[in-house]
C-alpha cells in the first residue's frame, strides 16, 4: 500500500503539475490583489452620499444630518441655477469627480412638508463601463439613501399622513452621463442592452482562444508522439508551408466555431434588443420615453461602422496570436500528454484579463496594473468595445497596432523555432527530449 501510494503520488506530483500549481498560485494572488484594490475603491465610494442641493432649505439640511447620523459621509454642493429641462449635470459631476449623485430640486420642502405631494428627484449616474458587475458594485445609490432619509424625516414630521405617501414620498428620474453628455435614461438598462454584446463577445472569444490553442497544441503533441512531425520536417516541403498549413487549418476550425457561436449569439441578440426596445421605458418618471437606441445615440455609446471593422480585425488578430503562440508552445511539447500543461500560459493570459474585464473596468485601473494588463495582447480585445463606446479610440487603435506587431513578432519566432533543432532538443515534458536522445 505504502509503495503504491508513493508511486501514485510521484506520478501525480510531476514537474508539470507543480509548475501549473505555482503559476495558478501566482495568478490567484495577483487576481486577488487587483480585485481587492478594486473592491476597496468601490467600498470607499459606497460610504459616500453625493447631493446636488437646489432647494437649500432647512429640510435639505435635515436630510444631510439624518444621513450623517446613519454613518454616511455626505458631500453636498448647492446649486441655484440650471435649466431643469436640460440640466448640465455632466459639468457638476466632473468638477466634483463624482460617479453618481442625487438632485434635490427647488421647492422640495414646500411640496413635501406643506403641499404633501410627491416630489420628483433626479438620480444621476456617470457611465464609464459596460461591465454590469462594475456598475452594480457601487451598491446602494445616493438616490435610495436620500429617499429613505426623506421618508424617515416625514414620518417624524407628518404624523397622521397616509403610510403609502410616507413610504414613497419621492419618485426618481434617472439621468445617465457618458462621453460628456447627459440623457434621461436609466444606466442599468443601457448597460444591460450593451452587455449582451460587450460581455458575451469576450466570453465567446475566451472559449475560442482556449479551444484553438488546445486544438493546435494537441495536434502538434500527437505529431510528436507518432513521429509524423519528424517525417514532415525532413520532407522537401518548406517548413514555412508546413507551419502555415497547420495554423491555417486551426484558424479555419476556429472560424467555423466562431461562425456557429456568432450566428446563435446574433440571433439571440437581435431578439433581445428588439424586446428591450419594445418594453423598456427609460426614465421612469417621465412622460418622454427614450428607446435604448435613442439614448445610446445621444450619449455616443453606439459603435461606428469603422469601429466594428476594427473590432472584427482585432478578433482575427487575437485568434491569430493564440494560434501562433500555441504553435510555438506545441513545439516544446514532448507528446500529446504534455499538451494541457503547454496550453497553461495561454489559458492564464486569457483568463486573467477576461475575468478582470468582467468584474472591473480595466481602462480605469491604476497605471502600473493597466500597463501590465495591456502587455497581454488579449486584454485589448476584451476592452475593445468599452474603448470605442467611451471615446478611448486612441487606446483601441494602439491596442490594435500592438496586437499586429506582437503577431508579426510571434510569426517570426515560430518560423525560426521550426527551422531550428530546438524542437527535438528541448521540451516541457518530464524527461527532456535531450535526455531521451542521449539515452539512445
Amino acid at each position: 500500500m505504502k509503495n503504491l501510494l508513493k508511486k501514485e503520488l510521484s506520478e501525480l506530483f510531476n514537474p508539470q503539475m507543480l509548475m501549473g500549481l505555482l503559476v495558478s498560485f501566482i495568478l490567484i494572488v495577483m487576481l486577488g490583489f487587483v480585485m481587492t484594490s478594486s473592491v476597496s475603491e468601490s467600498l470607499e465610494a459606497t460610504g459616500e452620499v453625493h447631493i446636488i442641493d437646489m432647494d437649500q432649505t432647512g429640510f435639505t439640511q435635515q436630510i444631510t444630518d439624518y444621513l450623517e447620523e446613519q454613518g454616511y459621509t455626505v458631500k453636498k454642493i448647492s446649486e441655484n441655477s440650471g435649466n431643469p429641462e436640460n440640466p448640465a449635470y455632466e459639468t457638476i459631476l466632473k468638477e466634483q469627480n463624482w460617479k453618481e449623485a442625487v438632485v434635490l430640486p427647488s421647492g422640495l420642502m414646500d411640496q413635501l412638508l406643506f403641499e404633501h405631494t410627491s416630489c420628483e428627484l433626479h438620480a444621476v449616474r456617470v457611465l464609464e463601463t459596460t461591465s454590469t458587475v462594475s456598475v452594480m458594485e457601487t451598491g446602494e445609490s445616493s438616490a435610495e439613501l436620500v429617499r429613505d432619509a426623506i421618508s424617515g424625516l416625514l414620518m417624524k414630521n407628518l404624523i397622521g399622513e397616509s403610510m403609502a405617501y410616507l413610504e414613497n414620498p419621492v419618485s426618481f428620474a434617472s439621468y445617465t452621463i457618458a462621453n460628456g453628455k447627459t440623457v434621461r435614461a436609466n444606466s442599468f438598462s443601457l448597460v444591460s442592452s450593451m452587455a449582451m454584446f460587450d460581455q458575451l463577445m469576450p466570453l465567446i472569444l475566451f472559449m475560442l482562444i482556449i479551444l484553438t490553442s488546445q486544438t493546435i497544441i494537441t495536434a502538434i503533441g500527437s505529431e510528436k508522439t507518432d513521429k509524423t512531425l519528424e517525417t514532415l520536417l525532413s520532407s522537401p516541403m518548406p517548413r514555412s508551408v508546413i507551419l502555415g498549413a497547420k495554423m491555417l487549418s486551426s484558424l479555419i476550425v476556429a472560424v467555423v466555431y466562431a461562425a456557429v457561436y456568432g450566428i446563435g449569439f446574433a440571433t439571440s441578440l437581435l431578439f433581445t434588443v428588439d424586446k428591450t426596445a419594445e418594453n423598456v421605458n427609460i426614465g421612469e418618471a417621465f412622460s418622454e420615453i427614450l428607446s435604448t437606441k435613442q439614448a445610446m445615440q445621444t450619449l455616443g455609446l453606439q459603435i461606428s461602422g469603422i469601429g466594428w471593422v476594427g473590432v472584427i480585425l482585432q478578433l482575427i488578430l487575437t485568434i491569430g496570436i493564440a494560434l501562433v503562440v500555441s504553435t510555438i508552445l506545441g513545439g516544446f511539447v514532448e507528446d500529446a500528454k504534455g499538451s494541457q500543461t503547454a496550453s497553461l500560459p495561454i489559458v492564464i493570459l486569457t483568463m486573467f484579463p477576461y475575468i478582470l474585464s468582467m468584474v472591473s473596468d480595466i481602462r480605469n485601473m491604476d497605471l502600473p496594473v493597466r500597463i501590465l494588463l495591456y502587455l497581454i495582447p488579449f486584454t485589448h480585445t476584451f476592452t475593445a468595445t468599452g474603448c470605442l463606446r467611451f471615446g478611448q479610440t486612441g487606446i483601441f487603435f494602439g491596442g490594435l497596432l500592438y496586437q499586429a506587431v506582437f503577431l508579426a513578432g510571434m510569426i517570426f519566432f515560430a518560423l525560426k523555432l521550426y527551422q531550428s533543432d530546438i524542437l527535438f532538443v528541448h521540451s516541457l515534458g518530464k524527461k527532456s527530449a535531450k535526455s531521451k536522445l542521449i539515452k539512445r
Binding site: K227, P236, M237, D421, I438
Partner: protein
C-alpha cells in the same frame, strides 16, 4: 559507384554530454549500412543530423553532394527518414497516406500518382490500403511507413530501428523490402539497429558505436574477423568491452 553519403568529422553534444564525436564514414549508392550500438551510443543523433532535424556542432555530411549544414533544403529532396516507432495519420486510409506523402515530394500529379502506386506495391497491404490506419496492426503500419520511405526512391533512406517491436515474419518482410529497394532503385540505406542478426543479414557494411564514436567499421565478415568472433553479437560484446 557513386557516393550517396559522405560523413565528415560529424560531432554533436547536448550540454556537457558528447553524443557524437568526430564520426566519418561513407555509403555508396545501393549500399546498406548498419549502425550498431547500445542505448545512448549516438545512433539516433547521427540519423537525425543526416535527416536535417538536428544541426551538427561541427563537421558536415554530403548527401548526393549536398551539405546538410549549408543546403538542408536540397538534402531533404534527396533523403527519406523513418523515425523509430514512427506512426502514420490514423484517420487516413493507407492509400490516402501514401498519396499525401507523395504530395510532399512531387509537384506534378503524374509523379505523385506513380510514387503512391509504387508505395502501394512495396507495402503489399492489398485491400487493407482502403482501410483507415487506426485499424492496422503494428506490422502493417511498419510496412506502410517503410513503403512511404522508399517509394520516393531517395538517394539515401535513413531508417531508425526499422524492425523494432515486430515479430519474426514481419521483420523478415521488412528486411527483404530494404534489400530489394537497394538493389532495384539504387537507394542507399543507413539503418540503426539493436539486432545484430538484422545487420548481419541485411547490411553490406556496418559500424559498432559506443559513446558517440565508431569502434569498428566494415562488412559483417570483416567485423567477425577483426574480433575473432563467430557471431556479430560476440563481436559487438568484445568491441564494447575492450573499448
Amino acid at each position: 559507384m557513386t557516393t550517396a553519403l559522405a560523413v565528415q568529422h560529424l560531432a554533436k553534444s547536448y550540454g556537457k554530454k558528447n553524443a557524437v564525436r568526430d564520426v566519418s564514414f561513407q555509403i555508396q549508392e545501393g549500399e546498406i549500412f548498419g549502425l550498431m550500438g547500445m542505448n545512448g551510443a549516438g545512433k539516433t543523433t547521427i540519423l537525425r543530423m543526416l535527416a536535417t532535424l538536428l544541426k551538427p556542432d561541427s563537421g558536415d555530411a554530403l548527401i548526393a553532394g549536398h551539405s546538410i549544414v549549408q543546403h538542408p533544403e536540397e538534402v531533404r529532396a534527396c533523403i527519406s527518414y523513418l523515425p523509430d516507432e514512427a506512426g502514420a495519420y490514423k484517420t487516413m486510409t493507407g492509400k490516402n497516406y501514401l498519396a499525401f506523402i507523395a504530395g510532399l515530394y512531387f509537384k506534378s500529379e503524374q509523379e505523385q500518382k506513380e510514387c503512391a502506386a509504387l508505395g502501394e506495391q512495396i507495402c503489399g497491404l492489398g485491400d487493407a490500403l482502403s482501410q483507415k490506419i487506426n485499424t492496422y496492426s503494428r506490422g502493417m503500419t511498419r510496412k506502410l511507413v517503410l513503403a512511404r520511405t522508399v517509394m520516393t526512391k531517395p538517394k539515401l533512406a535513413i531508417l531508425d530501428e526499422p524492425t523494432s517491436g515486430l515479430d519474426v515474419l514481419n521483420s523478415l518482410d521488412i528486411r527483404r523490402t530494404i534489400r530489394r529497394c537497394a538493389e532495384e532503385y539504387g537507394t542507399a540505406f543507413l539503418l540503426s539497429s539493436h539486432h545484430m542478426q538484422e545487420v548481419y543479414t541485411t547490411a553490406d557494411r556496418g559500424a559498432i558505436m559506443k559513446d558517440g564514436e565508431f569502434l569498428a567499421e566494415g562488412t559483417p565478415q570483416e567485423l567477425l574477423e577483426q574480433y575473432g568472433a563467430e557471431t556479430l553479437e560476440e563481436a559487438f560484446e568484445k568491441a564494447v568491452k575492450s573499448a
